[in-house]
Symmetry: C2
Subunit: 207 residues, 2 copies
């Protein structure tokens, strides 16, 4: 299967699915594009175009069948096997995601987190926490697919070398550092400082 | 002063500044737009347009004076007084940001974090950690401007009521929840699950 969906469509399909899973289908089996659009707070035209891209059509009177749509989104965006995630740096958000992925029959699974401290296991989570010094061994042993990078005080060059060598395929980067990795690794950058300075600008006391 | 810069420009100006601060100006006092563009991995035309918007021009031969540009960006995007941040949910990323803001003479300051646990102070950080049950008192007492929301297992409705009542002006939302707050509060959403499912799609084993 080719990866021919636009990145923004994949992201929206993921979001539609989560919203749809929150609907009680024993009460409502169908939903119209304008109703889903209202729930998602986006334009209904986006939804119709996204669902056209995965060849999903609704009943002209009843709308989209919710269970079928959830299944169809999964067929299109989910990996066949589970993908394994590791966090470099962890906190409440990572823990929340781990339980989200666990409860929702997700194809994503957080299997490890790396931290600076040596003594760091957390009984509230299912994944294991390791000191960052163990990254080389753990990435290889666990066959990690995706890294979420949130820790800044690390030897980035060395960590990236281990990530590349171990066969990681994607990185979600929350640090401000530019990640110098081969093109085969899909990097998604989110610069939190830039976002916070933007928030500060639009909420500040100048005017 | 009016907030007439486009949101994407403010974010890029913040990013230029951080990159420029990393340059040793005793060695290099000036930089050309194409050099900065190379460092930022963006199109030089973006940089020239952004700097035109803040009325900053360079020397046709030498380029932009780095120290003057850093100062000019600050005049345009920084708040006059410090803005106070609180995290709802905290982890390595929040701690890293706190030290980033502290060291870099930033106008942003993390002053508090809220967690689910009762006993949660962390000696490695300067800000205080509170149980989420104390949010009402702390937000008012500390006059928090911006909230970073990364905790999902909370009574969101109640927490949002306290946020609105206390006069918070902006929220950076990392949860999948829609935040039902008045328009005066600037909300920036980042849905991490959608981003991870997108990463999974583009790195997966189907093809």
């Amino acid at each position: 299967m080719e990866k021919n969906l636009p990145p923004a469509t994949v992201e929206r399909l993921s979001n539609y699915r989560r919203k749809l899973k929150g609907i009680n289908t024993e009460e409502t089996a169908y939903i119209h594009s304008h109703q889903l659009a209202h729930l998602m707070r986006i334009n209904p035209a986006h939804i119709r175009r996204d669902l056209m891209l995965i060849n999903f059509s609704g009943d002209i009177h009843k709308g989209y069948n919710i269970e079928n749509l959830i299944a169809k989104i999964g067929e299109n965006i989910d990996c066949i096997r589970k993908q394994k995630l590791a966090f470099i740096g962890i906190g409440d958000l990572g823990r929340a995601l781990a339980s989200e992925f666990k409860n929702k029959d997700s194809k994503l699974e957080i299997v490890a987190a790396f931290r600076l401290e040596e003594n760091l296991n957390d009984e509230s989570v299912d994944f294991k926490c390791y000191p960052i010094s163990k990254i080389k061994q753990v990435l290889k042993k666990e066959e990690i697919d995706i890294i979420v990078l949130t820790l800044t005080k690390i030897n980035l060059k060395e960590v990236l070398k281990n990530i590349v060598d171990s066969g990681v395929k994607g990185i979600l980067n929350f640090t401000s550092a530019h990640l110098d990795v081969p093109d085969e690794i899909y990097v998604e950058n989110y610069d939190m400082i830039g976002k916070l300075e933007k928030l500060s600008y639009f909420t500040s006391c100048k005017d």
